[in-house]
Symmetry: C2
C-alpha cells in the first residue's frame, strides 16, 4: 500500500471508530484510562526495553542531550504517564452535557449539547509520553485519534500502542479509536493534514517552524500556538512591591516556558522607582535587560533594545523593556508586538485594570497576577492539550472541552413552523 | 494601486479600526444602528435611484427573474432593512461579558471574557440588503467588516456605503469599521481570503460551488454551510398524527430553504400506516417521492430512488424515502447521507429520542419538532449571520456570539506561581 492509501485507510477507520466511541459510556471510558494506567506500570520493563532501541539509535545518530532527554522513558516518567491517566479519569465526562436549554414562545426548548469533534490528528516530536497522554485525552472526550510521533520514537510508540489497543479491547471500545502512524516518512504528515473528510482537527506540537508549515498546508482546522512573547505592564498606579514580586516570578521562576515574561512595559511615572529595584534583582539572577532609550538611564547594566527585541520570545535569561507615557500607549505597544499568548497589568486602579482586560487582544489577560499562571492545570481544566493563540474555536489553555463541539438540540412535543 | 495592494490597504485599515471599535461603548454602537435605520428610510428615493442603475444593467445583461428579484430594493425591503437594524439595536451587547469566573486554590479568579473576533470578510451575492444587515451585525459585535457584494449590485452598495459611513461618523466610530470593496474584479476575492494577518474570519454566502471554492482557497477560517440535506426519522414509537403533521410542515411549508426536509427515514413497523397517509398529502401537494425498494409498495405514485437521491438537497418538490429495520440503522443512514445541517426524530420513546439526540452528528438535532425551526430567530439568537455545518467554532445558526471569541481573564491580588 502506498503512503496516501495507508493514511486514507487510517482516516476511514478512525471515522468509523469515532461514530462508535461517540456513544461510549462514561464507565467504559474511565475503565480504559484505568486499564491503561495499570498496563503502563505492569509493563514498565518492556517499555524501557523498547525505548532503549530508540535511545541507542538516537545516540548513534548523534542527537543532542536535550533531544535524548525528551525521548527517554524511565521509572519516573512512566509513573507520571500513569498518574496523568488517573487524573484524566477523575475529570467529569464532558460529553452529552446540555447547556442553555430554554423554552421559546413556539413551545420548543432550544439548548446546546456538547459532543466530540470526531477524529483528532496529533503530530508531535519524539516524546513518547505524549502518546499515552493524547490517547487518554482523546478517549475521555469520545474522540478517535491518529498519532504521529517523531520518527526517532517509533519503537517506543509502537510498543505503547500495543498497550493502548489491549486496554481499548478490554473496555469494549473500538480498537481503531487510537491509531499510530507506523510509517516514519514525512509524506505521511503531508497526507494526514489534507484529509479533511476524515479528520476534524489537527493538533501539532513541537518547533515553531514545523507548526507553521503544518498550519500553512493543512486542509483541516488546527489548534496551535506559535509564540509566547508575554508582557507585563507596570501601571503608574501599581503597588511597587507587588510589581517587583510578580515581574520577578514571571521572568525567573522558569525561563523556558511559553508563559514566561519576555517583555516589560512601564509607565514613565513609576519607571525610576520600579527599574532601580528590578535592575538589582535581574543583575543578581543574570537576566540581561534590553532596554528602550528612555529606560537605559535607570538601569546599570542594560543593552539598547532593537525593534526586533520587542517581538522576541527569548525562552532564556533576557528581557526587553519599554517605557510608555500612557496606558493607551502600553495597550497599543502590546497589541503590536505580542504574540497573543498572555499579558498582565499591575495596577491598583480599577478603570485602568478593566480597560487593559478588555482591550488587550491575547488569549489570557491578567490583573495583578504572574503570567506563569496561564496553564490548563492552574485554570482548573484538569488537563491540557496545549495552548491556542488563535481566536477561532478554543482560545488559551485547551482542555477536554477544546476537543468538543456544541450542537443545537431542540426538544418539541409536535411543534410545526407557522 | 493594483488589486493586491488595494485589498491589503483595506485589511490594514480594518485591523486598525477593529482595535478602536473593540472598546466602543454600547451606546455608540446602538446609536450607529439607530442613525443608519433613519438614513435608510430618509434616503429611500436615492437608494431606489441607485439601485435602478444596477437593475437596468442586470436586465440588459439578460439576468433571470430570480436574480433581478434578489437585486431589487423597493419600499418594502428598504423598510425591512431598517427594521432589521432596529432589531439588532435591542439585542444585548455581547462584548465584555465575563462567564465562569471562579476562584482557584491559588487565590486567583479565572473566567472567560467575550471579545470581538476582530475583522470579518463577507462575500455575498447581489443582494444589497445584506450590505446593511452585515454592517449592523458587525458593529453590534464590535468587529470591523470588509464587504464584497456581487458585482451587479455595486451601485446600490456604494450608495448604501455612503449612508453607513455617515452613520459611523455621527456615532463617533471609525469610518473604516465598515469598508466596501469597490472593485468588481474576482481577483479581489482571491486576495481577500488569503489575508490571514488582517482578517479573522470569512463569511461567504451564495451558491454551493462558490462557497466551496472560497473554503478551499482561504487562508483564513470560514463560517459556512454548503448543503441542507435534512432528515426526519419516524420511529416505530411515533405518534402517527404528530409524524404526519411535522413531516408535512417540514417538507411543504417552504420548499427552497436550507432547513426544509429532503429525506424521510421510517421504521419498518410504522411504514405502512405512515406512508399510506403521507402519500395522499404529498400527492395532493405535488411532492414527488423517490423511494427505496421496500417503501415503493406502500406508495401510489413514487419513483425508485437511486443512491444519489439520498444525498441530494432538492430545494424543490421532491423527497427521498428510506425504510430501516432499527433505530441504529436510521442513525447510521443519516450520518452517512446527511450534510450535517438539521435532523429530527419523531418518537414517544424517551431512550430512542435521547440516543438519536446524542448520536446524530448534525448542527441541529431535534425531537418531535419540524426541521423548519433551525433558524437563528426561532432559536432566540435575535439575528443570524448564517448557519454553520462545521464543528469548529460556531455550529448551527450563527448569531452575534459566532462573531466573538472567549479569551481567558485572570483577576489576582498579587499572586505568583509557586
Amino acid at each position: 500500500m502506498n503512503i496516501k492509501d495507508y493514511i486514507l485507510s487510517l482516516g476511514q477507520e478512525a471515522r468509523s471508530a469515532s461514530r462508535q466511541i461517540a456513544s461510549a459510556t462514561t464507565v467504559q471510558k474511565n475503565n480504559f484510562l484505568s486499564y491503561l494506567a495499570e498496563e503502563v506500570i505492569d509493563n514498565k520493563d518492556e517499555i524501557i526495553k523498547h525505548n532503549k532501541i530508540d535511545l541507542d539509535n538516537a545516540k548513534k545518530a548523534g542527537l543532542d542531550t536535550a533531544f535524548i532527554d525528551r525521548l527517554t522513558l524511565n521509572d519516573k516518567n512512566i509513573q507520571l504517564m500513569a498518574d496523568g491517566l488517573n487524573q484524566i479519569e477523575v475529570l467529569n465526562d464532558p460529553i452529552g452535557e446540555i447547556i442553555n436549554l430554554k423554552y421559546r414562545p413556539t413551545g420548543i426548548q432550544v439548548g446546546q449539547m456538547r459532543v466530540p469533534l470526531g477524529v483528532i490528528g496529533m503530530i508531535y516530536e519524539s516524546r513518547p509520553n505524549v502518546t499515552i497522554d493524547a490517547a487518554g485525552l482523546a478517549i475521555k472526550s469520545s474522540n478517535a485519534i491518529i498519532l504521529r510521533g517523531g520518527s526517532e520514537s517509533i519503537n517506543s510508540n509502537n510498543y505503547l500502542s500495543s498497550l493502548i489497543k489491549k486496554s481499548l479491547l478490554k473496555s469494549g471500545l473500538p480498537e481503531a479509536s487510537v491509531q499510530i502512524i507506523e510509517l516514519t516518512d514525512r509524506e505521511a504528515v503531508t497526507e494526514l493534514i489534507q484529509l479533511g473528510e476524515y479528520i476534524d482537527v489537527i493538533v501539532p506540537r513541537g518547533g515553531k517552524s514545523l507548526i507553521k508549515k503544518i498550519t500553512d498546508e493543512a486542509k483541516v482546522p488546527v489548534i496551535k500556538h506559535l509564540d509566547g512573547n508575554c508582557h507585563i505592564y507596570v501601571d503608574n498606579n501599581a503597588d511597587l512591591d507587588m510589581a517587583i514580586n510578580i515581574v520577578d516570578n514571571a521572568k525567573t521562576q522558569r525561563l523556558g516556558t511559553c508563559n514566561t515574561l519576555e517583555s516589560l512595559v512601564i509607565h514613565k511615572d513609576i519607571a525610576q522607582a520600579f527599574l532601580s529595584k528590578i535592575d538589582k534583582i535581574f543583575n543578581e539572577k543574570n537576566i540581561e535587560i534590553r532596554a528602550c532609550q528612555k529606560s537605559l538611564s535607570f538601569l546599570s547594566n542594560a543593552k539598547k533594545a532593537l525593534d526586533d527585541d520587542f517581538a522576541t520570545e527569548y525562552l532564556g535569561p533576557i528581557i526587553s523593556c519599554k517605557i510608555v507615557d500612557t496606558l493607551e500607549a502600553a495597550i497599543s505597544h502590546i497589541n503590536q508586538y505580542s504574540s497573543g499568548h498572555t499579558e498582565a497589568i499591575i495596577t491598583n486602579n480599577h478603570a485602568n485594570a478593566m480597560r487593559f482586560l478588555r482591550e488587550v487582544d491575547s488569549s489570557s489577560v491578567m490583573i495583578n497576577a504572574s503570567t506563569r499562571f496561564a496553564d490548563g492545570f492552574e485554570y482548573g481544566l484538569g488537563a491540557e492539550i496545549g495552548i491556542s493563540t488563535d481566536k477561532f474555536h478554543a482560545r488559551g489553555p485547551v482542555g477536554l472541552e477544546g476537543l468538543t463541539s456544541l450542537k443545537y438540540v431542540v426538544l418539541g412535543t409536535g411543534q410545526t413552523r407557522k
